[in-house]
């Protein structure tokens, strides 16, 4: 317990001081992207506590990003207020997904989540009068906190850090709350859970809504970070639905920290491979990334988290370590 706290303080200090020591723009960009993915993966992960697998989180991401951007570009509403409205809109999207979730299980829910994001991408592409379609929207460059636009990378870094911490903290709170117990119980057996008096639909709805709102907020951040927003990027299945899911599964779904580890390892890995191998031979980085994935999934079906819980279980003999053991993912209901 004590060693954990020391480690947390050290990691926190390192995270806060990083921009002071790292002057390379490439490295700082990578750090921002990594923190962003830590946040996104942790937000996505909330839904997995009850054994559900969403591959449609790009929906909430895009809804958040578009809402804040449209409000700023079309109506001059400052990003802070825009972000609040964006979260509300993402929550409304979440509510729609809740309606789907209580009706569909297992792979059917997963497929529906994909469809949801794809439909929103089509809407954003074809509703030209509102979104300028595939041309996209530009956030004008007017530096200042009130416009969430900065000339240097550092402020983005600290915002990404704050959002990552918020997202992980949400997961930690949810996991250890009564709702967290219900979700984890339901991931084994929804029926048995209900027979014990648990309103499981309500618990799952709560998790999905927290997840959707947090994902929408990260969408707002990303929009201001790259300041050009168009449908194929912001509703991208690959970037904002599959990537967080992949990070989460590699790290260990059903745990709080597994997905954090997953994002911390996989984001820099993916970026390095893309930058260095991508220049050598087109597609090579995909091949290597894919191989790394296969090896990890083969060797550690429970994700990175299973190494840590394994070591911890050996240390404390038995007990507490077992609580947060990762589970291998089988897209079950």
């Amino acid at each position: 317990m004590k060693r954990q706290r020391v480690a947390a303080v050290l990691a926190g200090a390192a995270a806060v001081l990083l921009p002071v020591f790292v002057r390379s723009q490439f490295a700082l960009d990578m750090a921002i992207l990594t923190l962003f993915y830590v946040g996104l993966t942790a937000a996505w992960n909330l839904v997995t506590f009850s054994g559900r697998l969403s591959l449609g989180h790009a929906a909430f991401f895009g809804l958040g990003a578009y809402t804040a951007t449209l409000l700023f570009v079309r109506a001059g509403i400052p990003p802070v207020i825009g972000a609040a409205v964006a979260v509300v809109v993402s929550l409304l999207g979440g509510l729609l997904m809740v309606l789907v979730m209580v009706r569909l299980r297992g792979p059917f829910f997963t497929l529906a989540s994909i469809a949801f994001a794809e439909v929103l991408q089509l809407v954003a592409t074809h509703w030209r009068s509102l979104t300028d379609g595939s041309v996209g929207l530009h956030i004008p460059f007017r530096p200042g906190w009130q416009n969430l636009t900065f000339t240097s990378k550092e402020p983005y870094y600290y915002i990404a850090l704050a959002l990552a911490v918020l997202s992980v903290w949400l997961g930690h709170r949810l996991y250890h709350s009564s709702t967290g117990y219900f979700l984890r119980a339901a991931s084994s057996d929804e029926e048995a859970c209900q027979a014990l008096g648990v309103n499981i639909k309500r618990a799952q709805a709560a998790a999905l809504l927290w997840s959707a709102g947090m994902t929408g907020l990260l969408g707002v951040f990303y929009a201001y970070f790259i300041y050009v927003i168009e449908p194929t990027t912001f509703f991208s299945m690959e970037l904002f639905s599959l990537q967080p899911a992949l990070n989460g599964i590699i790290g260990g779904v059903g745990t709080v920290w597994g997905p954090v580890l997953g994002a911390l390892v996989m984001t820099p890995l993916g970026e390095y491979l893309r930058t260095f191998l991508g220049a050598m031979q087109q597609g090579l980085h995909f091949l290597v990334y894919g191989l790394v994935l296969l090896v990890i999934v083969r060797v550690l079906p429970g994700g990175f988290m299973s190494i840590i819980t394994g070591v911890r279980a050996r240390n404390d003999d038995r007990g507490s370590g077992a609580n947060e053991r990762g589970r291998s993912y089988t897209a079950a209901s």
């Binding site: 250890h176 709350s177 117990y181 984890r184 119980a185 048995a192 209900q194 027979a195 014990l196 309103n199």
Partner: protein
């Protein structure tokens, strides 16, 4: 059958039965698993439910606990209609159940028992203490931090009972909690059922081990092919020709 028992009086004042089943029917496509079952449970009774394999006993439990909606018929708890209520609401009203095939959650034994407690009082610290107490009651306290997959079958059955008890039920539906246990284990489990009676919990238990049913039950219901074919004291039921007929080819229970 026992509908007439409805206005049974105790000390002059009419008492409402705890559970009433009216013309309960459940059909799965072509198969009628439960057909026109009428029964009443009085508060404080321990009632056995027996019958050959596939008679519809578990299906009846699923109807009472709400996992299945009846095709026809009504279910009343304390005189209140609960036929359309979802399972969790029935649990909160006092119907607890165990599953014939144990269904533990992939979390520690203690956490398993905390789940139903948290559904009533969301405070994890208090739930931990309450769960520990219940584990003591079923003699699982020393296994609190184990995971269910590391327990013996007898222990997993006790965990199933512990979780149901943690719902603080008025009515407890036990589905073969003694099945698969050796005679010594059965002997060890029986006192637990008497503890339930002392706590004022009404029990409806499905059991194939007839000696056990005879020794703890006040009354026995017998089902066969979806029908309720007998309802009476253990002694009456084993002499009932319809019951003997239903078990024909099998060993007649306790006769």
């Amino acid at each position: 059958m026992t509908i007439g028992a409805r206005a049974r009086t105790k000390g002059g004042a009419p008492t409402l039965p705890l559970l009433e089943l009216h013309a309960l029917t459940k059909a799965f496509r072509g198969l009628v698993a439960v057909q026109d079952v009428n029964a009443v449970l009085e508060s404080g009774e321990i009632v056995g439910l027996i019958g050959p394999n596939g008679a519809g006993k578990t299906t009846l439990f699923n109807l009472i606990s709400g996992l299945h909606r009846p095709t026809q018929g009504r279910i009343l708890l304390d005189g209140r209609e609960i036929t359309a209520l979802p399972p969790y609401a029935r649990s909160l009203l006092g119907i607890g159940r165990t599953f014939q095939i144990v269904r533990p959650f992939a979390m520690t034994v203690l956490e398993n028992v905390m789940v139903p407690i948290l559904a009533r009082d969301g405070n994890p610290t208090r739930a931990k203490d309450a769960a520990q107490e219940i584990l003591e009651l079923v003699a699982l306290d020393r296994a609190a931090n184990e995971r269910p997959e590391n327990l013996t079958l007898a222990m997993r059955k006790r965990l199933e009972v512990a979780r149901a008890l943690a719902t603080r039920p008025k009515l407890l539906l036990l589905d073969e909690v003694l099945a698969g246990l050796n005679p010594t284990e059965v002997e060890q489990q029986l006192p637990l059922i008497r503890v339930l009676r002392d706590k004022g919990i009404t029990v409806l238990m499905i059991e194939h081990i007839v000696d056990a049913v005879m020794s703890v039950c006040d009354r026995v219901l017998v089902m066969d092919q979806g029908h309720l074919i007998a309802d009476g004291s253990p002694g009456e039921v084993v002499r009932n020709p319809a019951v003997i007929q239903a078990y024909l080819g099998e060993e007649v229970p306790g006769a």
